[in-house]
Amino acid sequence: MTFGRAESRPNATRFKSWWSNPWGKPRFLVLFTWAYILWSLVPVAIAVQFGFNEGRSRSAWQGFSLRWYVGDPNLSVLHDPSLRAALVQSLQLAALTMLIATPLGVALAIGLARWSGWGARPANFLMLFPLVTPEIVMGVALFLVFVHLFGFVRLGTMAQVLGHVTFTVSYVVIVVRGRLFSVGREYEEAAMDLGASRLQALRTVLLPMLAPAIWASLMVAFAISIDDFVISAFLMGDASSATIPVKLYSAARLAPSPAINALASILLFASMLAITIAILVMGRSRRREGAEGSAVEDFARLDL
């Protein structure tokens, strides 16, 4: 490296020659990019760290402990009823959302990709519309419709699940659709030439080929739902259906204990786990098929 060769020169010159070497990598961009990444992740890492603080402070480190996760008999996530309830509510909502939104979205994606009749274009627009609508608009809209029109849906878990599924479906469609386009129609057509009905071709040929995308979309739906704040907050009714993000919002300004950091970290671990699984599943199916590149790049290009 340039660094080594310039060893004997004084510091300033060495830096200058390293910096202005026209054949080297773009130095400024390297530094800038890594600085950005540090800036974007270090604050969160510090917040996670303070969830493990021995003492009550969220700005002075007093040693490692699991006090705020399980240890403290009153204030830890495990023992504080309202924090535990938020954790349970978040997991429950995410699980229900994932189980409802995925089949709905997979069917919608297949339908939209293969259907070319008059209704396909408006249906496609309708699917994309939730993606471009600011969340607060959706929150207000769902709140008002449940209060004024669909009176049988009580605010609380039921309303939250319906709301979460509504904005998650489109993401499932986007994830599955990418795979559908790359699979193409040939395999189903071959199956049908060999005597399978459309439904059989769908079940025995297309769905197995979509499996990695379906797994990935289950995980994406879970992660999106568990991360949501606005819709959960507008549809929660009373404090009993508060989720973790809602809890973070209401507690952040009330001189909270590190238990709130612990709760946030649990949320972080859960969505990171879901996304890692999604990327691994997609990566494995790529490798089996000998595709180039990596699943992370596919993920980055999804335009979620």
Partner: protein, 290 residues
């Protein structure tokens, strides 16, 4: 068979997306309930009463409301500009020069997407508190003589929060656009004698303009509806954004007519952005299909 596969999803979106949007208009155009307070929605468009709208529009031009809208606009404009300034070099480096670090860098850039937004704000609440690390460092370096109260009504804190919160959403579309550029085009410009800077401004930048536009729209849409960033990082009416007023009106119950009317105004406000984005994703999906 294909329409019938799409049917449940379409039906769901009609019932739980389009109908609720219509409900916003019905409540905004309805009359206030004279007996119980709250709002009486007018489901029939012929019975729409624009009274609430008149009030809102009046306040928009003469009253406090106009200032809140203007403040939201200024916050969003500054935060989007700063995000672009930060995001473009990062996306450019990862797309064109990252080499063997590419996948690692992409992973680190995607990570904030899956870290809860409120947790990321909470992280800054920790750092910016009176005895937090930021004050400690600034005191140590000597930039401050006494701890600064970052978290009460400071515009710069709210803008920092918005930039920190939304910049990842800008980087990905920029990355996708820069990654699509055929590097031979840039090499051709260099071979024909363009300096690196000239090649960048004459070739790379124009070719990535779609990504810039898409990225800005992607971050501006949620920023216009944001109310939690300012609440967490400042909590003062001095820094309220439009979303905060909507939240207060709707969740207090009494003002849901007013909240709905404000939501409609907000939608009209961001309507151009939404339409542009909707058409660009629809175009992208048609291209992917063919």
């Amino acid at each position: 068979m294909w329409p019938s596969l799409a049917l449940p999803g379409v039906l769901w979106l009609v019932l739980l997306f389009l109908t609720p949007l219509y409900a916003v208009f019905a409540v905004a155009m309805g009359a206030p309930d004279p007996i119980f307070g709250g709002a009486l929605p007018a489901w029939n468009p012929l019975a729409w009463d624009p009274g609430e709208f008149g009030t809102i529009l009046g306040e928009l031009f003469t009253g406090q409301l106009g200032f809140v809208f203007l403040r939201t606009l200024i916050y969003v404009a500054i935060a989007t500009f700063l995000s672009l300034l930060i995001g473009y070099p990062v996306a450019y480096y990862v797309a064109r020069h990252a080499g063997r670090f590419r996948v690692l860098l992409l992973m680190l850039i995607i990570a904030p997407f899956w870290i809860n937004y409120l947790m990321r704000m909470l992280a800054w609440v920790n750092l910016l508190s009176t005895d937090g690390y930021v004050n400690q460092i600034l005191l140590f370096v000597g930039l401050l003589d006494e701890p600064r109260e970052w978290l009460v009504g400071k515009h710069e804190t709210v803008i920092l929060g918005l930039v920190y919160g939304y910049v990842p959403f800008l980087i990905l579309p920029l990355f996708a656009a820069l990654d699509r550029i055929d590097s031979r085009v840039i090499e051709a410009a260099r071979d024909l004698g363009a300096s690196p800077a000239r090649a960048f401004f004459a070739v790379t930048l124009p070719l990535s303009s779609q990504g810039i536009l898409a990225g800005c729209v992607i971050v501006m849409l949620p920023m216009f509806g944001d109310y939690y960033t300012a609440t967490l990082l400042s909590g003062s009416p001095r820094t309220n954004m439009v979303g905060k007023l909507i939240e207060q009106d709707i969740l207090s119950g009494a003002g849901s007519g007013r909240g709905a009317a404000l939501t409609v105004v907000l939608m009209v406000f961001v309507g151009i952005l939404m339409t542009y984005y909707l058409y660009s994703v629809a175009r992208a999906s048609r291209e992917a299909r063919s």
